[in-house]
Amino acid sequence: MLKKIPKWNLVLFVIIVLEILVFGMMNPRFWNTSILLNSFNDFVPIAIIGFFLTLVVITGGIDISGVSIIGLSSVVTGLLSQTAGLNIWAAVVCAVLTGGLCGLLNGVLIAYARVQAMVITLGGMLLYSGIAIVLVGLSGVSTYEGFTGFPESFGQMANGEILGLPNAVIIFFILFLIAYILLHRTRFGRYLYLTGINQNTAEYAGINTKRVMMTAYVLSGLSAGVAGVVLTSYLGSARSDYGAEYLMPILTVVVLGGTLITGGKGGVVGTALASILLGFMQIGLQMAGVATQYIGLATGVLLIVSVAFLGINPDFRLNVKRIITHKQNGG
């Protein structure tokens, strides 16, 4: 039973437990369950994009445009509901779909035109944030302040709670489940892995790898749209610069979660654990008295150390053994 749990996830889990223990000893308030649960609010957008970025990374691609789609989706929500007077929930659906559309553009160009994913999504990142700023400008609202005055029910989406569980936690688990089922319980999920391991082989095996890849980017775009809506609801206003500071944390949770950046290996459970780990670390360090501006340092160390550890996988050890034995044979 235990052997089925990948070792890396277990390591992440242990680190989370250690975090709770150590930070709790530094500031006992950290052991307050409601504080821990409420801290989900501050990293749930990172986790949401992280889940679906994991799918993209498994195919061997990358998508860094998500951080700009957050801002765009937020602005679309604000523009449609506040300026155009659309029902807020209709505006939300449109905003999420806008995210999907951005993902589709990325996906078509990457899968069918075979342009490098990094180039396309870098361009996308600039393009979508540009569109967001233009939209704000068109509506006559200043980029500095953004749209405000959302109805209470919309604010409740991220700020409320159900049965004592903050909605952010529920959103986290719903999106985690969707990503988990897609990746680990469907044929599409298996295709994602196969495409990532070797696209040509997968293609010869009769998998429409282009469509698989494109779908992954669409999902990633949709998830960024959802993250933008969640952030807008949480903060109570829509601005084009939302998400701008999330690029590194998002990549961090995916890599820290054990997904190989070269594709073919990984999973969303790791991403979920890594985002909790990172989120708890942020709040834990703050509660231990570390100033926010220095927390990036700790994140960086964690990332490098963990990737170094990940590097010491069986393949690596085998290689080392080979080199050593080779040398011995040679000598």
Partner: protein, 359 residues
């Protein structure tokens, strides 16, 4: 087999840790009840700037830390390098979670922090704002650098006193951060009224915005000089716009005799322009005093003192400050426990006194 054993051990350790954690949270509940009778020295105020690494806010922090040392309480300076709403919300949340007694914040948005501040107030944390205010419903005191009347008049007077004949027709321009930033717009609104009354021949030819971005401000500053070569005065009530405007003028070789540039910025950022003759004067309030006053008021509230509008509070080294009603800033919301403290003085910096200040 060995592997399985170590796994089992791991799980066991985890469970034990969980238990410890669970016990811990019970203890925490007890200590919370006793929180009200906290020692004064243990009161913690979290001092939050719009962003870190900006001379203005770092100086505010210097003042806050000095006050904390003198009176004997704790001030934690906590801000993120990027001044975004999400970052400030996260910092407020963590301040509340970590058991801070009060926060003193310069807000990046007039309503983006409402939810977070509401949670802070619900948790019993006192909220004081300084420099840039939020919705008055969500804070007790705003430590104000000056009402729109005071600052608007000051801006116009700083420009007028440099003119030989201020009553003649003059072309002036406004240049600050954004069309919706609450404080600066309020000053400029009043200043325009004041111009109409006192200098009716003046004409405001343009109002430009730099979004508090250094690069953009420099571009905008350059374009003002190019589009209006006959401009008489450019007034920049923004700490990013003013140095950028002065830099743009310097790049074009213009001196204070050619075009009057004035506004609000810290003396450290403007000293070089005063010394090389690009500008004659500029103004600001003592931001160190503002930071010190903000954390002291936060500390005072955290002791359980009741705030009443109209009464005065004694502040070490600053004398007694009066709590004014919200209406002096033009707010509709008034309550007994929500007010504004206006800094007692503002400073005009010139060649003579700029070296006396370090912030």
């Amino acid at each position: 087999m060995g592997k399985l054993k170590s796994m089992k051990l791991l799980i066991l350790v985890t469970i034990v840790m969980m238990f410890v954690a669970a016990c811990g949270s019970k203890d925490e509940g007890k200590s919370d009840d006793g929180g009200a009778k906290k020692d004064k020295k243990d009161i913690q105020v979290v001092f939050i700037p719009k962003m870190t690494g900006n001379a203005f806010f770092e100086s505010g922090n210097d003042g806050a830390q000095e006050m904390a040392k003198k009176v004997g309480f704790k001030v934690k300076y906590d801000g993120a390098p990027e001044g975004t709403v999400a970052n400030q919300v996260q910092i407020i949340n963590s301040a509340v979670n970590s058991g801070a007694d009060a926060i003193a914040i310069s807000s990046v948005s007039s309503d983006g922090l409402n939810q977070a501040l509401k949670k802070a107030l619900d948790a019993g944390v006192k909220v004081v704002t300084w420099d840039s205010d939020v919705d008055p419903k969500y804070r007790s005191v705003y430590v104000n650098q000056g009402t729109p009347e005071i600052l608007g008049k000051m801006l116009v007077d700083m420009a007028a006193e440099q003119m030989k004949n201020p009553n003649d027709a003059k072309k002036i321009a406004w240049f600050y951060s954004s069309p919706t930033v609450p404080d600066q717009n309020a000053w400029v609104d009043y200043a325009n009224k004041y111009i109409k009354e006192k200098y009716p021949k003046w004409e405001v030819v343009t109002t430009q915005f730099g979004d508090a971005n250094e690069q953009k401000s420099l571009q905008v500053g350059g374009s003002i000089l190019e589009s209006y070569p006959d401009i008489d005065a450019i007034i920049c009530p923004d700490s990013t716009a003013l140095p950028a405007m002065a830099q743009a003028a310097e790049n074009k070789g213009l001196k204070a005799e050619d075009v009057i540039i004035t506004g609000f910025a810290s003396p450290n950022s403007m000293r070089q322009f005063i010394e090389n003759g690009t500008i004659h004067n500029h103004g600001l309030w003592d931001v160190k005093d503002q930071g010190a006053l903000a954390v002291y008021i936060a500390y005072w509230l955290a002791q359980g003192n009741e705030l009443k509008v109209g009464e005065s509070i004694d502040v070490p080294d600053m004398g007694s400050v009066k709590v004014e009603p919200n209406s002096i800033q033009g707010y509709d919301y008034t309550a007994d426990d929500s007010g504004i403290i206006v800094l007692p003085e503002r400073i005009v910096f010139t060649k003579e006194n700029t070296n006396d200040y370090n912030f």
